[in-house]
Amino acid sequence: MSTHTALEEGFPAKHFLNQGTTFKSWATTIDHKRIALMYLVTVLFTFFLGGVFALLLRIELLTPGPGIMDAQSYNRVFSLHGIIMVFLFMIPAVPGVFGNFMLPLMIGAKDVAFPKLNLATYYIYVLGALFAVWGLWNGGVDTGWTFYAPYSTTTATKVVPVLLGAFTVGMSSILTGVNFMTTVHTLRAPGLTWGKLPLFVWAIYGTAAVQVLATPVIGLVTLLVAAEAGFGFGLFDPARGGDPLLMQHLFWFYSHPAVYIMILPAMGVVSEVIATFSRRQVFGYKMLAGSTLGIALVGFFVWGHHLFVSGQSTFNAGVFGVLTMLVGVFTAIKVFNWVLTMYKGAIDFKTPFLYAMGFLYFIIFGGMTGIALAVVSLDIHWHDTYFVVAHFHFVMVGSVVMGFLAALHYWFPKMFGKMYSDRWGLAAALFVFIGFNVTFIPQFLLGNMGMPRRYYQYPEVFRTLNVMSTAGAGLLGFGFAFILIVLVVALIKGKVAGPNPWFSKGYEWNTTSPPDMHNFHEVPVMVDAPHAYEKVPEGTLAAQEAAKTEAEGAHHHV
């Protein structure tokens, strides 16, 4: 890189973490890095909460009959598990934490476009979460995270506060999207053309677009369902001429794209990590960037695959079946390009890379089961069985959480300036990986056997596999706790990481670790593409172009 900022070696004396240490300096900060850390703490908490509920579920499912709780509690627990994990953990997780932290660094900006809005967004999210948690405390909901009418509009549990909580969290998500899209459009450093944008930025951009376009629809759905539950307007009530399927359509119009809100940023992380640890530019940059936008767009056309056996017309099932396959094609493009990025590379097998490989494994496996589910006739058997549960845990816990952990381990030294023990990091990762497989592979088989989801009790035949799954969940939980310990230990007494412990040529590494309050000491000028580890042959077009951009960049600098 040509931007040779005077990087202090080792740990800088002044950085964003120690400039103001009072509570107020954190609570009122508009620094994107500090906001990112606030998100980090919050989402780790919600993840823990959701995880505790998950373990309760698994313990209950240890025995075919009633175990540690009654049916009503079970129904609430899986609803809360789903709602917390999806709305409070997964959707804000990668964009809120790593998007906030890395986006400005990667595009050479001092902050996001609207720093105050950014802080407001965080508080709106917390407010929504509190709303939901309040509803949870006061009896919870027993509708599942899907809130299907007419069950959700007739149940006696506290749907209204939880729906309003989801609405509020949704607002936060929309504003994050607005902020990030504007940031990418307006705050790129001199020389950083669209064609050079780091893939993580592309991913955040695609995510933000989906957030802006899809989230208002779930906002509306939550309002309508809440109004219906409160007043009985009959919008989804067949007795009053309403159509319950309309609710499902509108719900999935958001919630399918929402799964890409979750996975796209994780895919962005993986692109960065694989490039860094293979010391190569990604194989097929244009394909990866393009397929990001492709997934974001086509992700909107496929929601009907959740309604194959719900009474949707056969014709529509066909339309949605075909369109769903297109998403698979875009993801396949990504997978192949990631794998071939390693071709002729120089691979260093560090913890983040292991997580990236884990991500690949899970997205291939989980994605393929997604494709199988989208094969309309197979979904007849699988719909609403544990096969679906296993599918979405593979893509959500497997892929997205792996992506989250890859990001955490990859950027941990940048964020905190400390390095964790790679050996212990790998060990913990192994626990998570094995625990995960033991938890969820049996669930695929349970689904094949025909065990429906959201079942409090089940016939004896399903017992063995359920016991395996519960055992795996214990291992998985242990793995997560292990990671937490490794990272906390690193925070306290980890070695100083230095500005660029991975020798990466990603843009975000061009500053100290942890970064300065204003990110960079000078406005960086992006000449090379990110991750340009390859030697540029003299006299080629690329070399000339590089020289040209450098000259331009110098002008641009006010």
Binding site: D243, L245, H249, Q312, T314, F315, N316, V319
Partner: protein, 113 residues
């Protein structure tokens, strides 16, 4: 795109747009209520509304000089509205009649398949 590059539009011009909007409101009313337009009844109203919307967006909201990205954003939003309406109504229109007591394009019990 700084503020000084705005095309100077002037009060008179804006008033002209307002008049056009008024006229179109009348046209949409008249065609919807007092004209035999057959199958074009609804599409016509949608088209006129879209023309009006265009006038508001383009001139009143100054999208004309707000850059291509913003134009693309706005178009995208319209595209998604159309997508949502089309696919959901597509479902209602092709369901089996029993699954939809009030309406279906198919009069026989067996669907098109």
């Amino acid at each position: 795109m700084s503020s000084d590059t705005h095309k100077a539009h002037g009060t008179g011009f804006y008033f002209g747009i307002l008049l056009a909007l008024g006229v179109l409101t009348f046209v949409t009313f008249w065609t919807a209520r007092h004209m035999e337009t057959g199958v074009f009844h609804t599409p016509l109203a949608v088209v006129i509304a879209t023309v009006k919307a265009f006038l508001v967006v383009w001139f009143f909201m100054h999208l004309s000089d707000h850059g291509n990205s913003n134009k693309a954003f706005f178009l995208t939003s319209l595209f998604f509205v159309a997508l949502m309406i089309a696919l959901i109504i597509g479902d209602v229109a092709t369901r089996l009649p029993t699954a939809n007591p009030n309406f279906s394009a198919f009069k026989e019990m067996r669907g098109p398949w």
